[in-house]
């Protein structure tokens, strides 16, 4: 479903030129769970932003379901963001003035929400374990709870691909595992997930791990979802 062809991202020119991504090619199949690992500055976040159309590559092509998205104009990119792709960020990025439920509804506000959508939003909040926290504002929620709200917000627009940038970066081990349990469940339900992390244990939840270094893919592991099998036992 997602095809990256020799993606490059170069910042600056001449002496100050920085190559963030150097001709990366990768195929991500429908419904797969991919972890992207690498040290700081290896280009992980840039990589994720380019996939999601938040940033544009300086070279190469990004194809989604066979169609190029890297050269779309702003208005068409908005459509991609509204439908197929959703984000989960390390910092949660919730709007502080809105309640949990309203934050979940936010993506629908931009494409026209109706009452049925509100029911759906509260159902999704129930699903991520926050059925009793719908009226709380982000400031009243713990980090783990805020990330669940962010995940619910990602799910509300029924995306085929969820992009997660260090989703457990600010959490203790137990909360991280809870959140990853949620991702694993979403994966089972058929959502494709691409997750950036620097934590090998977190990456262990994914089926495929891609290692980035200096803007290149240096290693690719297919672990056949080892962790999930362990959970199934």
């Amino acid at each position: 479903m997602l095809e990256l062809k020799e993606i490059s991202k170069v910042y600056g020119e001449g002496q100050t030129k920085v190559i963030a991504l150097d001709k990366i090619s990768l195929d991500v199949e429908n419904g797969s769970f991919v972890a992207v690992m690498g040290p700081s500055g290896s280009g992980k976040s840039t990589f994720l932003n380019i996939i999601g159309g938040l940033d544009r590559p300086t070279g190469g092509e990004v194809l989604m379901e066979g169609k190029r998205i890297d050269d779309l104009d702003e208005n068409k990119l908005v459509d991609v963001r509204r439908g197929k792709i959703a984000y989960v960020f390390q910092q949660y990025h919730l709007l502080p003035s809105l309640t949990a439920l309203e934050n979940v509804l936010l993506p629908l506000v931009f494409c026209g929400a109706n009452n049925e959508d509100e029911d759906r939003a509260s159902e999704i909040l129930k699903k991520v374990g926050l059925g009793n926290r719908t009226g709380h504002k982000p400031g009243q929620l713990s980090g783990g709870e805020q990330q669940r709200v962010a995940i619910a917000r990602a799910l509300v627009s029924r995306p085929t691909l969820i992009l997660a940038d260090e989703p457990t970066g600010n959490m203790d081990r137990k909360t991280s595992n809870d959140i990853m349990g949620l991702f694993v469940q979403l994966h089972k339900e058929g959502h494709g997930i691409i997750m950036v992390t620097h934590d090998p244990e977190i990456a262990g939840y994914a089926g495929t791990t891609v290692f980035l270094q200096d803007g290149r893919i240096v290693k690719k592991n297919n672990k056949k979802t080892a962790r999930i099998r362990k959970d199934d036992n």
């Binding site: 208005n75 003035s97 931009f110 627009s157």
Partner: protein, 396 residues
């Protein structure tokens, strides 16, 4: 949930910042509303005086060096003395007045055009109380004092009748039908006038011939009020004509005084409105400034909205909604503050002016405030759309 609701909740969270942005709009709107309200009160006062004053021209004995003052109805009082205009000059005055009007307005019609009302002022005693009795031509006087209303009884119909001003009737304790001795003769009170707020309230009016006879001043008048029938009538030319051709009298155009005061008033209004406009412009830049700060503060929020599917035009819309909220608050508070300002400053600017709030200016204030806020938001909103989502998160 709708976008405007999202904006509204955000505005409530950042209420202090939003109020700060509103301050510029409030001050600008308040200044404009205040100036307009004061100017309107001042104008109303001048119009009111013009209306009260009635005549366009006053003809008085030339030797009398009295000062004509607009709004000071003591004009007639000063004529009390031994200086009179001979009654035989009335036809001549009429000839000049009507002739000039005919010339100016191209009227062929014969007959009287201007209202020419002679007055004779006599200081006398009725029931042992000093009172000014004014001899008038009942029909002509009615055309000059169009605001006269008879409260009790009737207007003058016969030569042996009298009309009492409201206060005079009270002080002298006279009622309709009373027979009042007047020097050598006596008159019947035909009616009592409603209060006018002018010196008329303290006077008693009788037909001029009756008073002339009673006081031994036959053929004499103290002053003559002339009212041309139109606003555009050439009262200055009439005054010049009378001054030139009739010796012994002086004609003064009341309109001249009024016009110069009106012109002054307009100049002051224009000047103050310019100041108000500048205040508004400064306010506008204030709003631009706070809005820019607001954009910078909310780079992350804007990034979030863009990441979850907001288009550029929706971001602009969100800012416009915020501007409209600022405009509504600024308009309401600006109107209230401006009106209060007018109530305080009005009497200081125009002595004795009663300021009235103008509901129409509330609409004006709202429209003005919203327009200013929206205009001030255009550039910051444009800047907001130029934020790159990826950068907005990186900066944190």
């Amino acid at each position: 949930m709708k976008l405007y609701q999202v904006v509204f909740k955000d505005v409530i969270r950042r209420k202090r910042r939003v109020l700060y942005a509103t301050l510029g709009v409030i001050i600008g709107t308040a200044t404009v509303v205040g100036i307009l309200t004061v100017a309107r009160a001042g104008q109303a006062r001048i119009y009111n005086q013009l209306e009260k004053y009635g005549p366009n021209l006053a003809v008085i004995p030339a030797i009398n060096s009295m000062d004509m003052k607009l709004g000071d109805v003591k004009l007639g009082m000063l004529a009390v003395g031994d200086n009179y205009v001979p009654e035989e000059k009335l036809p001549q005055i009429r000839q000049i007045a009507d002739g000039e009007i005919r010339k100016a307005m191209n009227i062929e019609d014969e007959g009287n055009i201007a209202t020419i009302a002679p007055n004779l002022f006599v200081d006398t005693r009725i029931k042992n109380t000093n009172v000014v009795v004014v001899g008038i031509d009942p029909d002509e006087e009615k055309n000059i004092k169009t605001w006269w209303r008879v409260a009790q009884g009737k207007y003058l119909e016969r030569d042996d009748q009298a009309l009492a001003g409201a206060v005079a009737a009270q002080i002298l304790n006279i009622k309709v039908g009373d027979v009042v001795p007047l020097d050598g003769t006596s008159v019947i009170i035909a009616g009592i006038l409603e209060e006018t707020g002018s010196n008329d309230d303290y006077q008693v009016f009788v037909p001029i011939a009756t008073l002339q006879k009673a006081s031994g001043r036959e053929g004499l008048v103290s002053s003559v009020d002339i009212r041309a029938l139109c606003n555009a009538c050439p009262v200055e030319i009439i005054a010049d004509g009378i001054n030139r051709e009739i010796p012994g009298v002086r004609a003064v155009a009341v309109k001249q005084i009024a016009a110069s005061e009106m012109g002054m008033m307009e100049k002051i209004s224009k000047f103050m409105l310019t100041l108000g406009g500048i205040t508004l412009a400064v306010g506008l830049f204030g709003v631009v400034n706070t809005m820019m700060t607001s954009v910078n503060e909310r780079i992350k929020d804007i990034g979030i909205m863009r990441a979850v599917g907001a288009s550029r035009s929706q971001i602009v819309k969100a800012f416009i909604y915020e501007a409209v909220i600022i405009g509504i608050i600024g308009g309401i508070l600006g109107y209230i503050l401006g009106t209060l300002l007018a109530y305080i400053a009005g009497p200081l600017v125009f002595e004795g002016t009663t300021v009235a709030y103008v509901p129409l200016y509330f609409v004006l204030a709202l429209v003005l405030a919203i327009a200013v806020a929206v205009v001030a938001t255009v550039y910051p909103a444009y800047r907001a759309t130029q934020i790159k989502v990826a950068d907005s998160f990186r900066s944190l």
